[in-house]
Amino acid sequence: MLQYLSTSGPAVLSALGQHVVLALLPVLIGLAIALPVGYLAHRFRWLYPPLLSLSSVLYAVPSLALFVVLPVILGTQILDPLNIVVALSVYTVALLVRTVIDGLASVPTAVTAAATAVGFRPLGLLLRVELPIAVPVILAGLRVATVSNVSLVSVGALLGVGGLGALFTDGLQRNYLAPIITGIVLSVLLALVLDTAIVGVQRVLTPWSRVGSR
């Protein structure tokens, strides 16, 4: 184990770096798409059922299949990391649209009515009243999306771009446990670190939630 780490240390680190980028970029892209889409579905109720069915269909497409099919649709090379980023963004959007809608729906009607009464316009109401109150629900969804992205990136290794997933295929081919265990441990640690970071962001964004518990 130690011998493996001392010889392959740099390769493991670069795999970890690629893993972080491949997992995090889709979370940001997904959030940027899911917020406006979720808001539209919140405003226009008839959009809700079709969006919900569409997102569960997208979520049912196996990640391996999406990784392979995307180059055909996008016209990219099969080894292009872009395929992984787009595929994981699709999953993130599918997961987050639902939580954004749930989050906005969790805002009590009395609060929006009061905000309207004191003169908030629709945009101000959304940005300064509804979104902040929806933060806990949206970030709960973001935690799930981030953690599952970290796990899904490895599947890309079957196509040659998979961050830490390359350690799994490498270990399986050489019948060697060290890279596999290294990959699993780093993957879980990475998920843990990112998850804790989002919890930290939530603490900063919702200072009022701590007042009551004191």
Binding site: A60, V61, V68, V144, S187, D195
Partner: protein, 235 residues
């Protein structure tokens, strides 16, 4: 687009559907359902009783809350490779990887379902003289069923989609179309495999939605309300 017509041609090709053809869609469907079924039954047998215990007693709640996230973080491919090296190629590594994938949503949903039951209802059940077992099985579980079932549907969806990795370690299932198609750069087969998996996932979800409608009491799901509203009397 030629890929679309190739996919359609693959899917409607009669020889691909023949029950006797070991590489056919019917045979792959049975394998896929087999992996999914075994994994879900084992995961449910392990996760649901534990979730019921945690939800009913409120003890070890942190286990249920953290199991969700920790379990999701375990990369299925890594786990699969690990078990393959430890016990060799076969059904066991695939089932282990899928069970580990299915346990977190089942455990979290069982716990969350029991948490959603109003404490006053539980107290009332106890006040009526129900024993702990009866409180759990006849009051809490029926009320928790919608959330519990959503966990079952969620786990099924993930396991069906992920069972494709079985093909990576030389087993069957719909994943074969993905892995074989990728190996020979025959994308129509890959897309057809993806379509089959997604369709299977949706069909199973619809079936479970029907089961949910059957097992959830009308009083819990709200359907009873429409029955008690007085009919319009036409003069």
């Amino acid at each position: 687009m030629s890929v679309v017509s190739d996919v359609a041609a693959f899917l409607v090709d009669g020889s691909n559907w023949q029950p006797g053809n070991p590489d056919g869609i019917s045979a792959r469907l049975l394998e896929h359902l087999q992996y999914t079924g075994i994994a879900l039954v084992i995961a449910a047998a392990a996760a649901i009783p534990v979730g019921l215990y945690i939800g009913h007693t409120g003890r070890f709640a942190f286990v249920a809350i953290n199991a969700g996230n920790a379990g999701r973080a375990l990369p299925t491919l890594g786990l699969l490779s690990l078990v393959v090296i430890l016990v060799g190629i076969g059904l066991v590594p695939v089932i282990v990887a899928l069970v580990v994938l299915a346990i977190p949503p089942l455990l979290t949903a069982t716990y969350a379902g029991l948490q959603s039951v109003d404490r006053a209802t539980v107290d009332a059940a106890r006040g009526q003289g129900m024993r702990e077992r009866q409180v759990l099985l006849r009051t809490e579980v029926p009320i928790a069923l919608p959330i519990l079932m959503s966990g079952v549907r969620n786990a099924t969806l993930q396991v069906v989609a992920t069972a494709t990795v079985a093909a990576y370690v030389a087993l069957g299932g719909f994943g074969r179309f993905l892995v074989d198609g990728l190996a020979v750069r025959e994308y129509a087969q890959v897309v057809a495999g993806a379509v089959l998996v997604a369709t299977l996932a949706i069909v199973l979800d619809l079936l479970l939605a029907c089961v949910q409608r059957l097992v959830v009491s009308p009083g819990v799901s709200g359907r009873a309300l429409t029955r008690t509203t007085p009919r319009k009397v036409t003069p």
